[in-house]
Symmetry: C4
Subunit: 254 residues, 4 copies
């Protein structure tokens, strides 16, 4: 007996749209990138997905107002003859394997109803160490999609055959399930330490997305976050037990 | 395949009633407060909810009589032209995320059938240290509800926007799900160490509720518990490993 | 989507029968007692319950023959004008809370179909230390059942009201759910260390059951097990790290 | 609400076919053996099972192409008047007890539709130490199946009655559930340390299968893997903390 409720604000029919996923994950890279896009593109709230596959909790927002944990769609109507975009974000992914499947299946169903034909998922690729110039690695559902991503600057490692590489969670599942539903897609993974929320890695992903979507993205706000985290990280490098003492502060950078 | 059975003793139709939740949680604050209210107001048993979302166990009561784990409604008909009240309590919350959702959805459904239009949830706000004068913090589903709680003495922290604050479990979920069902509500969280059952924190919540509900509550029995715990705590302060040695005794104060 | 299959060997209609549960638990006391009863009373196999609430595994029996994990009914037609008995046993209890509920509900349904009107559950009461003369403690669904058990020698602790005492798992759940279905019942808990399979505790339970059921039970085989475990335990008392070195041997005593 | 989708490439009706299972497990023995058989017999892809009982993840294959986690059937039409074979393999088993049951029930249903009348499951028997000449141990659903396996060289331990031996996961469950559906079967367990993927143990199983299925199996590729692992193991024997330093390398041998 699963609970699922869709609260619709505005559910327009889009044309040949792209779904871009940015749920929480490694280094919060995907969520940082998509939250930034929603802000700078002034994307409109479309709908909220409430589900018993998400944690049983509420968030306390500004002014003490409560909101139930959800996954949300925002949409962006692209005036310049480019493809429309739906952004998927939220505070949590599904809590277990059944929950992950149930939520992703519902997300794909809703996305298709709104005209989505392609899925781009965003995430972090954890390296376990600080990386100065994070690359953006990729994976995709078809060779033509791989080539499209390569042209935009995404890198594909040559030796993936042997490495048991995989993508865990919504960033992988949306592509795997989407393909069963006839949607092509790809995943952009920004290299990141995995220790802290990483706006630098998110910034690299957005640089790629600019080319991929032929869209102008104002990155100035994200640049500020990059500097802020950079300053904290430098400061931490001088401390003996850096993560314990200041993890909280860094988490504020969302 | 979930099991759910409602055993009804008395299910009156109430008018514009308030549901007050006091299930076990941090410092057992909510449960202590609601159990006290049921006693001093002599609230009547309404119904029992048995569910496979609760632990598979029975309690052994006085005289060796067994009772299956449940959540219970008691109701209080308010003669003095004030709103009627339903009290929700029990020995356990739902065991996992699906269980939490399923139980809270059923509770809201039953509450609405009985005439509930507002939900007040009670809980503890864990500080990790002993606090001498616990405040009562709040969160609510609407600005008007926030204002109502403020007027009764509930405090709202100003910087909650940045803090990722949330309410986990039934105290949050009943409000989040209730709002989807058209019920407004708020949560009262008594500051508490989180280490022991805390009647002092529960007492603060009841002081607020007196104003909020325009109701007289005899607090003498709770005052005794406060003194008892105070004495134990002082005694413990002189011991090297206080919690290990006397946790059991303190748990008796329910 | 739960899997449940009942494989029936012989499902007679019994008259005013008692269900006696002996699934694995603390000290394996309940299972030891019921397995002994099935043997000495030569009870007949009635049915097997296969369920996805049980572990996904098979047992390898004598000769290398596999059998799927299950719960089983054996029945005993009591010729001497006494009540018939159904014995419930198995290698495992349900694996999680939903599984425990689902299995117990099905067991009660099947038991009622076969004419069961009363449930006696058997288990261990873990003390955390070796006990020389284990008592048999009780709990029951009604005062009349409490009195019946007391008359047969079961002890009821006086101060249970304060102690948050409970019975976890099938031994409790069958009674709690059974009562919702109109079946009265009681639980016999043999005191045991909880460290090893404890035939001595099982023996005490069977002594009580002899009186309760007005039935003659040959205890000689169990007496041998008691002696065997006694010898091992004495031997262990001289070793520095007893449990680690010989847990395996003691487990053979089933 | 479980997700299950079968993607069919080719689902021929076979005659009196055998299902051979080689999902991941102890020492990866079963998967190594079945993957080898699929390769050398050039078995054809039949169908893919996608399920929310499997992990919510995708694999990244050669060229960066994503594939959703699944279980797969390949089939081999045996021209030489012998029985046809369906091979079951995949990257994962079902994730929890419900998932294991659900997947195995579906697998048996599909296998029966395709004409399977017997199931052989392959796995490792973990010894916790390196073994030079691994034996192949067996268990089966019937005495005639035990005898058939014995004739092919499978060993059955004499004292299994006392040992609480069992088979956990798909290798056991397919046989236990299959028998409820009228399918006989057996399990071949190659002795293995359990520490590393073990092609030597898989090789022993294939030697048995050659006799059991009256089929010629080219083992040269597997011999190379055996040598490779042997070399690594010898090298490791000289190191102080062998597993930590080179576990990754050995895992490449699939």
């Amino acid at each position: 007996m699963s609970f699922l409720e869709i609260s619709i604000t505005d559910k327009p029919k889009l044309n040949n749209a792209i779904l871009i996923e940015g749920l929480p994950g490694i280094g919060n890279v995907g969520k940082l990138a998509v939250s930034h896009l929603i802000n700078v593109l002034n994307a409109k709230k479309s709908l909220e997905i409430y589900s018993s596959s998400l944690p049983p909790q509420v968030k306390i927002n500004k002014g003490g107002i409560i909101s139930l944990t959800n996954n949300e769609f925002h949409y962006y109507k692209n005036s310049s003859n480019q493809r429309d975009i739906i952004f998927l974000t939220g505070e949590h992914q599904g809590l277990d394997h059944e929950g992950q499947y149930n939520l992703c299946i519902k997300i794909i169903e809703l996305a298709k109803e709104m005209g989505v034909t392609e899925i781009i998922t965003l995430g972090g690729y954890g390296l376990g160490k600080i990386v100065d110039n994070p690359r953006v690695l990729g994976a995709a559902t078809s060779t033509s999609m791989v080539n499209k991503l390569k042209k935009a600057g995404v890198e594909f490692s040559e030796d993936q055959e042997d490495s048991n590489a995989g993508i865990i969670g919504a960033s992988g599942l949306l592509l795997g399930l989407g393909r069963l539903e006839g949607l092509e897609g790809g995943c952009l993974m920004g290299e990141t330490s995995g220790y802290i929320a990483d706006p630098k890695s998110a910034r690299e992903i957005l640089s790629i997305l600019q080319k991929l979507l032929s869209i102008e993205i104002d990155l100035s706000e994200l640049d500020e976050k990059v500097e802020k985290v950079g300053a904290i990280t430098k400061h931490l490098a001088g401390l003996s037990n850096p993560l314990e003492e200041s993890e909280a502060d860094i988490n504020y950078i969302e």
